[in-house]
């Protein structure tokens, strides 16, 4: 391999991407995969809103409507938001800590392929015509009663994708603990790295409950189990507990990296050190911890009793405190800064009021007596879209603009970026603000149609129009991406001009070994410090130029995931077809053979020679 650009055949390029273990490429794969599912989930959302744009509409049938809301929620959470965030984490976090890759490059690739095949599995349900239809929460009584294979697709697809997520989480934990450059103490880590760290720790503890819950559901549906079947001594409430023990941490797994992204943006575009950095770190950890103590706020109306409701209500409201600390720190970071309102900054500024509104409605729902009124109404729909769209999606869009140069080496058009923002932002508030009132006016959540003249007609129409605004925003973004890629104007290391952290001191996109020499970190915002002290390169090397050890690519992760994907179909059709059991066994054996191949093969990687690194350095004029 050489860093000099070579023309490669299409086949070779494809093979390169299928076998890659490079965190930057895997980041791009996650980004493309997540982006693809984001568009699918978005189309589902538009169909839902079209069905509801007028009373008594017959655009989709009741059954299809249930399919749409279930797949919309599941796709957006598991297949769009998480992978998109993983894309940025992969692309950026190793650079931020001055590492050459993640701790386990092979596992990283396995995590991606499991997500991808899991997502594919879930969506193949559309072609079979039996689609998950019990909501993204898949409450057990409903999901056990569901006809056809829909819920089986849900259980197995999420099991595969969830395995990938767990691996990715563990990988980031080990990477951040072990692979920080010399001098990068915990209290010098950029906030995006910190939030990735805490989110990964939450994945470590939250995903095993999901795995267990899905296994129990799989056994109940496909192998004659009765864990959730009350007629046979099971307990359907247990699913709700298990789901939310996973589910509430999950929403914080999504929002914490978003907080990290916005922290970077506020600090870069205010040209100031993040205000209250230690309290930001503390708040992040505290949110991560409290996130595990509040799951029953989703179940206030189940009848847990006043004591349990009171305890969980208080715990829920406590989360607002560290969240508030963060909000004030961001405001004080902007305060007195020298602000440039670039597209990412625009998103960040829009995020603060939007997310605060979502947080406030969250606290309202956290008050158990009030939640008896709000539960399962459109108010809930408004709340979680305010936090997820106003928080997570705005962060993803902001990061797409902010990190585009680092990932692809080009700069998205700023004017179009702002057009996207305004369409999306206005559309977002138009869609969801009115839904709070729909909730107050009694419109229940997850209804297929509503009858005219209950006072809901106008509000629903407004909501649908807002959704179209968001869609236009996304289309403009896609257009922006396409023209930027066609023009292909390469940019320098730090195209925003005010980068503070290590990723901005190396090429855009970085060479495949990231850092010619591992950098020495002398404080928070290391590159900024170096630049202020007159070191234009922004980096102080911590070691001489020497050979670099690199991992080899491998196709095995893809094969391992493929085996599980095949086995999934076997499990699903086991009882009703001849081939079911055979396919189940074949798929599992396939995976085990791939695993054995990996274990037996002694792959110690390869070295990049010092000469090559020196040559690259010379080409770049002696700089990193």
């Amino acid at each position: 391999m050489s860093s000099v650009a070579q023309k490669k055949s299409f086949g070779a390029t494809l093979w390169d991407w299928l076998t890659t273990v490079d965190h930057k490429k895997i980041g791009i794969l996650y980004f493309l995969g997540g982006g693809f599912f984001f568009v699918i989930g978005g189309i589902e959302a538009m169909l839902i809103r079209w069905q509801l744009h007028k009373p008594d509409n017959d655009f989709v049938s009741a059954g299809l409507y249930n399919d749409l809301i279930t797949m919309h929620g599941t796709t957006m959470i598991f297949l769009a938001a998480m992978p998109l965030l993983f894309g940025f984490m992969n692309a950026i976090v190793p650079l931020q800590i001055g590492a050459r890759d993640v701790a386990f490059p092979f596992l990283n690739s396995l995590g991606f392929w499991m997500f991808f095949f899991g997502g594919l599995f879930l969506n193949i349900s559309w072609f079979i015509g039996e689609v998950p239809d019990a909501g993204w929460t898949s409450y057990a009584s409903l999901s056990l009663a569901s006809q056809g294979h829909g819920i089986d697709f849900y259980a197995i697809g999420l099991q595969i994708a969830g395995g990938g997520t767990l691996m990715a989480g563990i990988n980031f934990l080990v990477t951040i603990i072990n692979m920080r450059a010399p001098g990068m103490t915990y209290m010098r880590m950029p906030l995006f790295t910190w939030t990735t760290f805490v989110a990964s720790a939450m994945i470590l503890f939250a995903f095993p409950p999901l795995t267990i819950g899905l296994f129990l559901l799989t056994f109940d549906r496909m192998f004659g189990g009765n864990f959730f079947n009350h007629e046979m001594g099971g307990n359907t409430i247990i699913w709700e507990h298990i789901f939310w023990i996973f589910g509430h941490p999950e929403v914080y797994i999504l929002i914490l990296p978003a907080f990290g992204i916005f922290s970077e943006i506020f600090s870069i575009f205010s040209r100031k050190r993040l205000f209250g950095y230690p309290s930001m770190v503390f708040a992040t950890v505290l949110i991560g911890f409290l996130g595990f103590m509040v799951w029953a706020h989703h179940m206030f109306t189940v009848g847990l009793g006043p004591t349990a409701n009171a305890i969980f209500a208080v715990a829920t409201m406590a989360i607002a405190v560290p969240t508030g600390v963060k909000i004030f720190n961001w405001l004080l970071t902007i305060w007195g800064g020298s602000i440039t309102v670039t597209t990412p900054m625009l998103y960040a500024l829009g995020f603060i009021p939007s997310f605060v509104m979502g947080g406030v409605t969250g606290v309202m729902q956290g008050a158990a007596p009030l939640d008896y009124q709000l539960h399962d109404s459109y108010f809930i729909v408004a709340h979680f879209h305010y936090v997820i769209v106003g928080g997570v999606v705005l962060a993803i869009l902001a990061a797409t603009h902010l990190y585009w140069p680092k990932m692809f080496g080009t700069m998205l058009n700023e004017a179009l970026g702002k057009v996207t923002f305004w369409f999306f932002f206005i559309g977002f508030h138009m869609t969801f603000l009115i839904q709070h009132w729909l909730g107050f006016w009694g419109m229940p959540r997850r209804v297929w149609k509503f009858m005219p003249n209950q006072g809901w007609d106008m509000a629903n129409l407004i909501s649908t129009i807002g959704a179209f605004f968001m869609a236009i925003g996304v289309i403009v973004l896609v257009y922006n991406v396409i023209i930027t890629s066609i023009k292909n104007v390469k940019v320098a290391n730090d195209p925003w001009g005010d980068g503070r952290t290590l990723e901005w001191a190396i090429e855009s996109p970085p060479l495949y070994y990231n850092f010619a020499q591992t950098p020495l970190v002398r404080g928070l915002d290391s590159v900024w410090i170096e630049k202020m002290e007159g070191n234009a390169s922004g980096l102080t090397p911590a070691e001489p130029v020497k050979d670099i050890h690199m991992p080899n690519g491998s196709i095995i992760p893809l094969l391992m995931s493929l085996g599980l994907f095949i086995a999934g179909f076997g499990a699903m059709f086991r009882t009703e077809t001849e081939w079911g059991l055979g396919v189940l066994i074949f798929g599992l054996v396939f995976t085990f053979i791939a695993m054995a191949a990996r274990s037996l093969q002694d792959d110690t990687g390869y070295y990049i020679k010092k000469e090559e690194i020196l040559r690259d350095l010379k080409r770049k004029g002696g700089q990193n």
Partner: protein, 115 residues
């Protein structure tokens, strides 16, 4: 290809390593005896209960057994799995968090689902 680097210890390092190894060996043997001793007590308590010795009621020995079990888990982790040594702070933090969650969640289940 990768050459494995071999590092040769100086005599001073060698003797230090030996001293450390000796110390840790002594600690392990001591802890091992302590654990055997705890196990013996546990068994004798149960036997005493079976024999109907006065004072060894079920409500007395079950909590004590639990306590001993916890102590043994701690000794196991800290002495035999080397958690007492340096550089284990992060694993410890994760284990304690896991243990805490593993305790709290079943507790809530016991109190609000099954009770």
């Amino acid at each position: 290809m990768a050459d494995i680097q071999v590092y040769k210890r100086t005599p001073a390092e060698q003797s230090l390593a030996q001293r450390r190894a000796k110390q840790s060996m002594r600690g392990q043997v001591m802890m091992f005896s302590l654990m055997i001793f705890l196990t013996l007590i546990s068994f004798s308590m149960v036997v005493a209960h079976e024999q109907g010795v006065a004072g060894f009621s079920k409500y007395f020995i079950v909590p004590i057994l639990m306590l001993f079990a916890a102590v043994q888990v701690g000794l196991q982790l800290y002495y035999f799995m080397h958690m007492s040594e340096k550089g284990h702070g992060i694993p410890q933090m994760f284990m304690f968090t896991g243990a805490l969650l593993g305790f709290l969640i079943p507790l809530t289940f016991a109190t609000i689902v099954w009770w």
